[in-house]
Symmetry: C2
Subunit: 351 residues, 2 copies
């Protein structure tokens, strides 16, 4: 029993079994060209010594680590975690390990050390799972930091020459606002996320577009910007309600903010959805348990992560073909509307 002993090497196994390291290697890798007798003897020794092959020595010689680098941000929020959850399960399934880096803030632009660190550990590909905010994507076409491995980007505006997997936030926004229009609401306001976020801009653009298609004129006092948090939505909602008293429905850019809006409306003695309808975005697990249950746009962030892993592995495999020309791809996942009580003024609910 190897109690806190040194790591046994393939050499030790070989000499204990009276064979060459080659043969041990063959056994470990399940190669067919070993006699059954030798195989079982070696396997016994491996067990006895507690031998575990070194994946990094293998990576070094094979120039392939079966490891993916993941760069994320904001794990304390549920969105990025759900995505990471999708990444881990797809990676596990595909037999890849994951090297994780979290940026300390969303805006951080010290990209190069992260990239170098991952590349130095011989990752076969990188998933850049930090959302697009401000100019934090300015480096993607910077040739000086180009790496000989693929990088797949999540949650950003599709771009020429890079591979991207995103959820279609614009479509999600359209689903939300169209639903409110169809329910007969006339004065539909918006509480947006921080507008340096691409996703927040997409959701807001959808609100504007659907409203003008419905023949309404958007005014500046019909919306307020907040920062995704429940806390930020309180003053935002107060401001919006004061400057737009006719408001009878609100498209809130995420469910956390919708919770605070619900509280505000409830405290004013207004009824949801009779006086004011609310539609959120995300479909967090709690949304169905708000009072009343929240209509919201469901985005499958788990799938976002899983697809990212599959795509980056696909690119890695393709690049093994010498004469393969790497081409970038863009995938947009489609969100869906989940109708609950917070927005159904009319009795005939279309589920």
């Amino acid at each position: 029993m190897p109690i806190h002993s040194k790591r046994p090497t393939i050499k030790e196994v070989a000499s204990a079994a009276g064979v060459s390291t080659q043969t041990v290697s063959r056994v470990v890798n399940g190669r067919p060209d070993v006699s059954d007798e030798t195989r079982s003897r070696v396997q016994t020794i491996i067990k006895d010594l507690g031998y575990r092959p070194s994946a990094i020595a293998r990576s070094l010689i094979q120039q392939r680590s079966y490891t993916l680098g993941v760069v994320t941000a904001g794990l304390k929020f549920i969105g990025p975690s759900r995505t990471l959850n999708g990444i881990t399960s797809a990676a596990e399934e595909a037999g890849y390990s994951l090297l994780l880096k979290e940026m300390s803030h969303f805006h951080a632009n010290d990209i190069v050390p992260r990239l170098n660190s991952l590349y130095g550990m011989h990752v076969d590909g990188i998933i850049w799972a930090v959302p697009e905010i401000g100019d934090n994507r300015s480096w993607v076409n910077d040739l000086s930091i180009d790496l000989p491995i693929p990088i797949l980007y999540l949650a950003m505006e599709p771009r020429e020459g890079v591979s991207v997997v995103s959820i279609n936030n614009y479509l999600g926004g359209r689903l939300a606002v169209t639903h409110l229009v169809e329910q007969g609401y006339k004065h539909i306001g918006h509480i947006s996320g921080p507008l340096d976020w691409w996703e927040a801009r997409q959701r807001m653009a959808a609100w504007k577009d659907v409203m003008s298609e419905a023949g309404k004129t958007i005014k500046d006092h019909h919306w307020v910007e907040a920062n995704w948090s429940s806390a930020s939505a309180v003053p935002a909602m107060e401001k919006l309600y004061n400057q737009y008293p006719e408001i009878d429905a609100i498209f809130v850019a995420n469910d956390q903010m919708a919770l605070a809006v619900t509280k505000f409306v409830c405290e004013r003695g207004l009824r949801i959805p009779q006086d004011i309808a609310i539609v959120g975005f995300d479909d967090i697990a709690e949304a169905a348990y708000y009072t009343p249950p929240l209509t919201t746009v469901r985005q499958d962030q788990h799938k976002l992560g899983a697809v990212a892993v599959q795509e980056v592995i696909k690119i890695i495999e393709e690049n093994k073909n010498e004469n393969h020309v790497e081409e970038s791809r863009t995938i947009m996942l489609t969100p869906t509307l989940v109708v609950r009580e917070s927005s159904t003024r009319q009795k005939e609910v279309q589920k």
Copy 2:
């Protein structure tokens, strides 16, 4: 400009600079014993060639990877993610990389392949961040899977011979129930988490203990078991309310379930906290925006993760001393009570 070219090696840099690989190594590692002239020449070449040192080759020779393995579960929930967030930031600060594995379910007992995989990648230590559930810790004292690197366990009952960092759930439960007793509530029920979880049992034990210390007799119909989710709390609360109609306060084992309880109470036309008080556990970001804002026990899961990293690194460092006897340590973090409106029947709120 190295556009998707091969990884340049130290040898190529050396010959391009007309020096030995040793000298390049010295420059890369910032050793002082290189002339300024040589250093700058080498640095220029490194830039030009886009050379990035191979961390795994370095790990191989130094027998030290500056990488930690993290095994987690349930990233789609906010608790484990907050802990992981603490782990990533502390690891980053300490200069360690992270290899992440997520168990597909909390109960999973295919421990060995995970451990071997991490060990095979030469991690210097492991943080086992899966909560203790059922017998999913039965292996910790199994000598046959003992590794020559330290494993630090999170969120489990302290045990002889292993290092553990946990939050004191029992104390947290005491804070919650004591508060309700002090507020003058007489019929304090409990909705527990799944009782195969150590943390759920601790919270429940605290409820029982404080109640009997207050001279109350706990009956079986005073509590119901649920499974942490808002969804599970709906039938649980219905059952509890029916079987215990005198109930005037509830200690709910987490904030998600407390949300559903809030909704239930609200829909029955009962007032919180006048008719029924609610205290949760976790202090998720949204708890302050429930209607009414939720009194809850704050556990600093971010810190839990950060402390885990610091501790495991401490053990790694200590083990470098030949004659150091590894001793296990137990750290218990202390939760705090956050009093909000959902439990303050008396006007004089002690903040």
